[in-house]
């Protein structure tokens, strides 16, 4: 299958700090990849580059056939909006909008708000009955599922999750993993950053970073 993502000799430095060095990585369409490594190893930095939220200092990044390392901030916003679903450890929700409205905002900036579709998305993550609740009225697990529903609403080519279960208990972590498995089955490409070997074990493939270097890349042992 075609590569949906390719990183070629990607480097990222923050002043003196070499956060990423000579990263080469290809991800095929429909693959589920876990990125693991100790704290400060450069996982989030890598996600931000793939997620069009930051630009690599050097190297080439090709996302869905497009050289995003060449694009300006405006085009990066458009790519992020159209091709990427982002999920974070923190639940970045707008506090004064209800669950369904939080999803509709993403729809609006993508194309147009469609409440029916937003409600269906909530239904799929098991939050149909909480559509009119504000984020603070939802549990952590529910908020994360809301974030996932929002990330998926515009049918992204690739789902990027940075510690998606970092703030969740086991039950909620499993619920999130179930959703990922469904997405995976439907053919979505998923890249998950995690500390947790448990979460990592769900992936097809684990990439390990240490001090900004890729130290291993392999299909997980069955």
């Amino acid at each position: 299958m075609a590569n949906i993502l390719e990183l070629q000799d990607v480097c990222m430095t923050f002043g003196q700090v070499k956060a990423l060095q000579d990263i080469n990585l290809s991800v095929r369409e429909g693959e589920w990849v876990a990125i693991m490594g100790s704290s400060g190893s450069g996982k989030t930095t890598m996600m931000n580059i793939i997620g069009c939220m930051n630009k690599a200092t050097s190297g080439t990044v090709i996302l869905d056939g497009e050289k995003i390392s060449r694009l300006n901030a405006k085009d990066l916003t458009a790519i992020r909006r159209d091709k990427i679903g982002l999920i974070f450890q923190q639940f970045f929700l707008i506090s004064y909008l209800t669950a369904v409205e939080n999803i509709m905002v993403a729809q609006y900036y993508h194309s147009m708000a469609d409440e029916q579709e937003a409600l269906e998305a909530l239904e799929r993550v098991g939050l149909g009955h909480r559509a009119r609740h504000l984020p603070r009225q939802l549990s952590g697990g529910e908020q994360q599922r809301l974030c996932i529903a929002r990330a998926l609403i515009n049918h992204p080519k690739i789902i990027l999750a940075d510690e998606p279960t970092g703030n969740l208990d086991e039950a909620n972590q499993n619920a999130v993993m179930d959703i990922f498995h469904q997405l995976h089955k439907q053919g979505s490409t998923i890249i998950v950053v995690t500390h947790s070997p448990d979460v990592g074990s769900h992936a097809d493939r684990i990439v390990r970073l240490e001090f900004g270097h890729m130290v291993s890349d392999g299909e997980k042992k069955a």
Binding site: M53, R81, F88, F92, R132
Partner: protein, 406 residues
Amino acid sequence: MMSRLSPFSLVIGNIARKPFRTFILSSLVAVFCMAMFAGTVIGLKISTGTQLAADRLGADILFVPYGYEKSVQSSLLRGEPSSFYMDRGLVGELRGEKGVLRVTEQLFLATLKASCCSYPVQIIGFNPKTDFVVTPWMNQSLNRAMNENEVVAGCKISGNPGETIRLFGREFSIAAKLDPTGMGFDTSVFMEVDRARRLLLDSELGLLLRIPEGLDKSTFISSVLVKAEPGTDVTSLVNGLSEKYAIRYNLDFTAIADMISSISSKLSVFASVFRMFSAAVWVLAVMILAFVFTIILQERKKEFGILRIVGASKGHVRRLFVGEALLTSCMGAFCGVVLAALALGLFHTYIDVTLNLPRIGIGFGKTLLIGAGVFVMGLVTGPLACLPLLRKLGSIDSYLIMKEGE
């Protein structure tokens, strides 16, 4: 519930979420708009009112008894009744002077009450044979001498020609009315000068009359109005005449143009102080809004970052922020202009009296124009206050937000 979610509903939602803050910020803009609106209208009233009075008075020089220059000003321009007296001899003497085209006299009678009106009416005795000040205002010409019991009424005196009016306990019939003058004439009643003098002496007021010693009771007058020959330098004419007559007749003398411009400039100092105050409030409003918006931005960085994450462009975020500012200042500007218009409309008489303004309207069209201008000025305070923040708004990146969120 927002069934049709849009940036507009986001803006409305945000404004509604902080009613107190919105109220305070809007009030600030409202105060500016009120001050600016009132200041501009009043300033315009002053300049048009006095200019109009100057243009239409038709006289170049005014002589009154020494010490009464101020009284005659308020009498002429604002219709405040006053009374002061001097000898008529001056009229004849001035008539022979070089550079003098016309001379006429007037006699002022202060009445306390008249049947027509709730406010004091100024009775002015004038000389129809020589008059060039009152006659041009009459809305129908009197081609005959006025008889004993006839008067000419200013436009604000109620009663039509042919009807009667009671003054000093006597009935007078209205022979003609004046067009609006924007001056004290509007609230004055005019009668033949000798009749006015007799009326004064016969009335109980006559007993209390402060007629200076040595003044002939049958000929005294209050003021003399002079029209200069065309092309005459009024200032030097005034100087020449006053040198000759001021001491002898104990006179105050004024070139009307000077009088008008001095009044006008005194009043416009007031108006421009008011306008400067408004401008200061405007600058202050913009600065305070900018300050508050800086805090708001800091507070809402995360929210905007989230919007960026879900696909909002820098422009979207900017428009959202500026939109809120615009709505806030729009509400303030609207309330301010409406309140000021209401206040000016409802209390215009009170304001005119308190501030000693010429009683003249500046017209609906002009008021509307000023209102619109002030509204726009109020409206732009919000967006202007956002200007220094636009860069910062643009630099809000999802990436930074996530870093800060950690």
